[in-house]
């Protein structure tokens, strides 16, 4: 039963952090290149534009949910399972989600990179 809770928490962490990353990425693309904008309209105006973006705000909410799910996951399962499993799975779900929702060109190079990093994260925690 405890392992079911642990894997449930891992699933929630992966889903919410993927949704958060995708929404933050979409929000920041809508805002535009922050460096160029800052030179044109100033830092405070850029900050206001970011904080008014709905995708950014929902993305932050998703990230906060992922963080608290991680805390609950850690109280049910081992650190050596919860952190590497959720981190490495998030690299893979992000590649899938970025292709579907952000229409990013996830070519062979990016797939290989995501899989190598996901595998590396698992090995670091062994």
């Amino acid at each position: 039963m405890k392992s079911l809770y642990t894997w449930g928490a891992i699933a929630v962490i992966v889903l919410t952090s993927t949704a958060g990353d995708v929404l933050l990425s979409r929000g920041m693309k809508q805002v535009g290149d922050v460096g160029a904008l800052r030179r044109r309209i100033g830092l405070w105006a850029v900050l206001a534009r970011v904080l008014k973006n709905p995708n950014f705000l929902i993305g932050v909410l998703c990230m906060a949910t992922a963080f608290y799910s991680l805390l609950f996951g850690l109280s049910w399962g081992d650190l050596s399972l919860v952190v590497p499993a959720s981190t490495s799975l998030t690299f893979i779900t992000n590649a899938v989600a970025a292709r579907i929702f952000l229409h990013e060109r996830v070519d062979q190079r990016r797939w290989v990179a995501a899989l190598l990093v996901a595998g590396g994260v698992v090995l670091l925690a062994v």
């Binding site: 990353d21 995708v22 933050l24 990425s25 920041m28 693309k29 805002v31 535009g32 290149d33 922050v34 460096g35 970011v50 950014f56 805390l71 609950f72 109280s75 690299f91 992000n94 590649a95 970025a98 292709r99 952000l102 229409h103 990013e104 060109r105 996830v106 070519d107 190079r109 990016r110 290989v112 990179a113 995501a114 899989l115 190598l116 990093v117 595998g119 590396g120 994260v121 698992v122 090995l123 670091l124 062994v126």
Partner: protein, 145 residues
Amino acid sequence: MTFRKYLVLAGVAFFAATGDGFIARGMKQVGNVSLHDLSGIFLVVLNPVIALGVLFLLVFFACYMTALSWADLTYVLPATSVSYVVLTLIAKFILHENVSLTRWLGILLISAGVGFVTQGPALTPPPPAESDELVGASLSARIEP
């Protein structure tokens, strides 16, 4: 990709690794936080090491958002995973922790992943304007009687 943009990516990796490191060290000083008394989770920020960790993670978030404003998510995430390598090197050479062969292999895989993704373009080019016009034309053709 300009030098400044590579600097922002390095900032993401550096501040994520050091921020996590400060928070981990601070939490060891504070001790266990009970899930039944959640007020403790808010009071931990009064610890100076944790406060420094939170500050570093805020800088990490600013760098991460900046990177996402001009690069793809599938570029930024693997490229900044170099933070795991930094964290392990800190553990080995500054904290003098024992790093096993499996962990070195993990570092090798992550470094290869970083190398792979940074050789490619950082941003997916937007679809050509012509195709947008064609889509618009075909849509209006469908809507108009």
